[in-house]
């Protein structure tokens, strides 16, 4: 059994839809609204907060905005949490308290302006 660093690089995502990667898979970018990827079998025990870490480089002059949602077990599955607004370097949202626990496949779904992602951080909220 392996316990990982709670910062998960985007290269570990799978079931990717409407997203592209750079050559060494250290960055993923959204191609079209509705884009999503999966992080497989994540234990949510004790996890209170999710942070989306944006990749640097070419970003638009006026701050773009959009919605990022996290769903359990399917892109349209149970909504675990949501970020909405202008993109910043790190965008965090809380997991709806008491909504879910245990091991789940997590789907992150992107709507709004295109965005470039480097990693996802799982936090205990303290």
């Amino acid at each position: 059994m392996i316990l990982r660093n709670p910062v998960v690089p985007i290269s570990l995502a799978d079931q990717v839809k409407e997203m592209g990667f750079n050559n060494d898979s250290t960055m993923a970018f959204v191609r079209n609204a509705g884009a999503s990827f999966r992080l497989k079998e994540i234990d949510l025990t004790g996890i209170k907060q999710i942070e989306i870490i944006r990749a640097g480089g070419r970003n638009a002059g006026t701050p773009p905005s959009g919605t990022i949602e996290m769903h359990a077990n399917a892109p349209d599955g149970f909504l675990l949490g949501k970020f909405s607004g202008e993109y910043t370097d790190k965008m965090s949202f809380n997991i709806t308290p008491g909504s879910v626990s245990g091991i789940k496949d997590l789907y992150l779904v992107f709507n709004g302006a295109p965005i470039r992602i480097k990693a996802i951080r799982f936090g205990e909220g303290d």
Partner: protein, 775 residues
């Protein structure tokens, strides 16, 4: 088939120039003209091989056995067993398994006349050294009286890794031997190990690779003489007599140079070289991320380690005591100022790597892929090297270098310009995935042989095989796959055998299938179906061999092993408090191991004792490292296996005659252990004595026979007895239940295993990325 036909005719139709170039350059042969033939399966840590003229294959196993495979009888025989050192003992007295052991074997160029073979291995005993020895061998056992020690490489056995051990002869009968840097690779954050603090020389590669006065971290070049000595050939890096240098050195600045080869036409030396573990650049403070290399030397030279890697990317001078970084090293003027070096300070200018690739996707060499890596090497094909070969690779491959990687399992073919510059690379047999290739070369019959170690380190991997790839210009042999629905289980065991995946590329071939099931080499059953079912009602290990024959009578076979009468144990590792995906700094985790075994009971019903379970955790700051886990789990496994042996002793009749320390009727276990200490045959011979009985060694008392005991149990008891005279005890296993306290910081890995000979299961979930051997 149809596609490529259309493509070629299109070229002929529209481009006359293409026609000319096609006539000059041989066309790439179809992949299905190559057949993989499995020669021997279930090898035990094979390292390096040699193919004899009659097709026999002599090979070395890391744990000390030299074996020969005879394709006529399809039998494998042990030629000799050497007492080898495989362990390291650190300052705290902890024992870990290392890469040491028997590394390789090579035939003398005049073997037909003088019958000499050379073996490179880690000598067991107090004196830490690897030795190159020569023996006379006529096909059966080694002639013990012919032993000559040719060369000794002194090493340290405090912290593991990098032994090298690749060997080859050039046309002038000079012997090349690769040696590793003998340096701990995991205390330098994935960058160069340059720890100059007093007492830390095992963590300072500057003592070896860039030390002009040390034989480690090199490719040595010597000319063995008839009397067992050697002379220094012309053209090495330092002329004999140069102060503070070793004249044997051909290349220096090597980390773990693995399998060397020489292009017989140009005389240039090529080899694979394993790099460190880091996967990120810190160019300002430490240096580049890690790169593995495929190298080429047109002459002697300094190949950079530990100051440069890849195409001379420079590491940064770093003080391990103060953690202060200095300037990057200068490839034009490298200087070795380490107090651990005994050689010259001013070194030759560094040579860049020929091909280099990191864990990330390579921009320069995209076919190398990404992920964990471990460069091996491979042969350069030259038609003229083969006289009267039965089959020969086509001219398309003339002068090209076949390379492979232990983790990635592909074979790439590298093409060079006339002047030796890199030209291009292509995949060889895209569907072929090798399972831990560790040595690859052409045999005298023109076939490409590959020794597959398997992908678990320090383990007798069930997938370890000797294979060869044959090129066939006429009728093609069937390509055979064999599998079983179950390979172990309780009686009665019903198994469906499957030939799924078997195919033949000659379209009109009708195939005949035959399964022969053997137990103890005697035929148990023969079945003439492609996918038959069979029920085993008596316990034992069965070998099911599928032979497929085509219309022309060409055959190919593959085997699968089935163990009836022993269901593998089920091992579960559960986190009972804390998150089971992530590790958070400073938090403790509670865990529980659950084990159940159909035959032996479970932890819950107390038939399996907690002391029989080995549990270990590792904190891995540099990413997932399979070897690190294997090293630690192996040492705690030993203590669990001893616990099983102790319970067998307590429940059997042993104590009627023996005690640990005192003589009873028979000798004490400690005395037995002391008497046979260092004897590599002790486990086998003492096990025989327990099973069959004996007397005379320790006075008149008779040792009764124990014919009902399982051989694997008896061997476990003997291993425990033998351990009594080894001073350092194996590392202690963690309990089967409890908290893992901090102070781990980034990520930890856990492994639990339960030993129930002869089947063993390791409960270990592994992430596929960053799989890594620290060679």
């Amino acid at each position: 088939m149809i596609k490529s036909g259309l493509f070629v005719s299109a070229l002929f139709g529209f481009f006359t120039n293409a026609e000319i170039s096609l006539a000059q350059t041989p066309k790439k042969p179809e992949s299905n003209r190559f057949t993989k033939v499995v020669l021997a399966q279930r090898l035990e840590e094979p390292m390096q091989f040699q193919v004899l003229k009659d097709g026999r294959v002599l090979y070395a196993e890391r744990k000390g056995k030299l074996k020969v495979y005879d394709p006529k009888s399809q039998a494998m025989e042990t030629v000799a067993e050497f007492a080898v050192s495989t362990k390291y003992v650190n300052k705290a007295g902890e024992v870990t398994e290392g890469e040491d052991g028997m590394q390789g074997v090579i035939l003398d160029p005049d073997y037909d006349q003088n019958h000499w073979i050379y073996i490179y291995y880690s000598l067991a005993g107090d004196e830490a050294k690897n030795v190159l020895v020569r023996y006379e061998w006529h096909g059966k056992e080694l002639l013990e009286s012919s032993r000559k020690v040719i060369l000794e490489v002194p090493v340290q056995r405090e912290e593991c890794c990098h032994v090298g051990g690749g060997m080859l002869f050039d046309k002038d009968k000079n012997l090349y031997l690769t040696t590793g840097d003998n340096t701990f690779s995991r205390a330098s954050d994935g960058f160069a190990p340059l720890d100059e603090r007093p007492g830390e020389s095992p963590r300072d590669s500057q003592k070896s690779s860039p030390n002009t006065n040390d034989l480690r971290g090199k490719i040595l070049r010597i000319h063995p003489e008839n009397d067992g000595s050697y002379t220094i050939p012309k053209g090495n890096l330092f002329p004999p007599g140069t102060p503070q240098t070793k004249p044997e050195i051909y290349t220096m600045g090597n980390r773990n140079p693995w399998r060397p080869t020489i292009d017989s036409k140009t005389g240039w030396l090529y080899w694979g070289e394993v790099g460190p573990d880091g996967s990120r650049d810190d160019l300002e403070k430490r240096g580049p991320q890690s790169y593995d290399e495929f190298n080429r030397a047109k002459g002697p030279g300094f190949y950079g380690w530990p100051y440069f890697v890849a195409n001379n990317k420079a590491y940064v001078k770093y003080d391990f005591a103060t953690k202060v970084s200095g300037a990057p090293f200068d490839p034009a003027h490298p200087v070795n100022n380490s107090p651990n070096s005994t050689g010259l300070k001013e070194l030759p200018a560094a040579q860049p790597a020929f091909i280099w690739y990191s864990k990330a996707q390579s921009q320069e060499f995209p076919l190398m892929e990404s992920g964990g890596n471990s460069a091996v090497g491979g042969p350069v094909f030259r038609k003229d090297d083969f006289k009267n070969a039965a089959r020969l690779f086509p001219g398309y491959y003339e002068g090209k270098w076949f390379i492979t990687d232990w983790v990635r399992g592909w074979i790439n073919v590298v093409e060079m310009e006339e002047n030796g510059d890199y030209k291009s690379m292509e995949r060889f047999l895209p569907d072929l995935k090798l399972k831990g290739p560790i040595d690859m070369k052409f045999g005298p019959d023109g076939d490409l042989y590959v020794l597959e170690y398997g992908n678990g380190y320090f383990k007798d991997n069930p997938e370890a095989e000797l294979i060869r790839i044959e090129y066939n210009s006429g009728n093609r042999k069937p390509s055979v796959e064999a599998s079983a629905s179950k390979t172990a289980g309780a009686l009665p065991l019903q198994v469906t055998l499957s030939s799924k995946g078997t195919k033949d590329f000659d379209e009109d071939d009708a195939l005949q299938y035959e399964w022969v099931i053997r137990k103890n080499n005697a035929v148990f059953k023969t079945l003439k179906e492609a996918d038959p079912s069979i029920t085993f009602t008596t316990p034992g290990t069965y070998q099911a061999t599928l032979t497929v024959t085509d219309k022309a009578g060409e055959k190919n076979t593959k085997s699968v092993e089935i163990k009836a009468g022993n269901e593998p144990p089920v091992v579960e590792f559960k986190v009972t408090k804390g998150n089971a995906t992530f590790y958070f700094p400073g938090k403790s985790i509670d865990y529980e191991v659950r084990v159940s075994d159909k035959e032996d009971g479970s932890l819950a019903n107390k038939k399996i004792l907690p002391s029989q379970i080995s549990v270990s955790t590792n904190y891995l700051s540099e990413g997932f490292n399979l070897t690190r886990i294997a090293q630690k789990q192996m040492s705690v496994d030993a203590s669990a296996q001893y616990a099983t042996a102790i319970s067998l002793i307590n429940n059997g009749d042993c104590k009627a005659c023996h005690a640990i320390k005192e003589m009873v009727l028979g000798p004490s276990f400690t005395a037995v252990s002391a008497k046979y200490k260092g004897d590599p045959t002790a486990v086998t011979s003492l096990s025989k004595k327990i099973l069959n009985g004996g007397s005379g060694v320790w006075g008149d008392a008779f040792m009764p026979a124990h014919p009902t005991m399982a051989e694997s149990d008896v061997k476990g008891i003997v291993r425990y007895i033998m351990s009594l005279s080894d001073a350092p005890k194996p590392a202690k296993t963690l309990p089967v239940k409890g908290p893992i306290p901090p102070p781990f910081r980034k990520a930890i890995q856990k492994a639990a295993s339960y030993s129930a000979p002869p089947t063993r299961t390791t409960a270990q979930k592994q992430h596929p990325r960053n799989l890594r051997r620290p060679m």
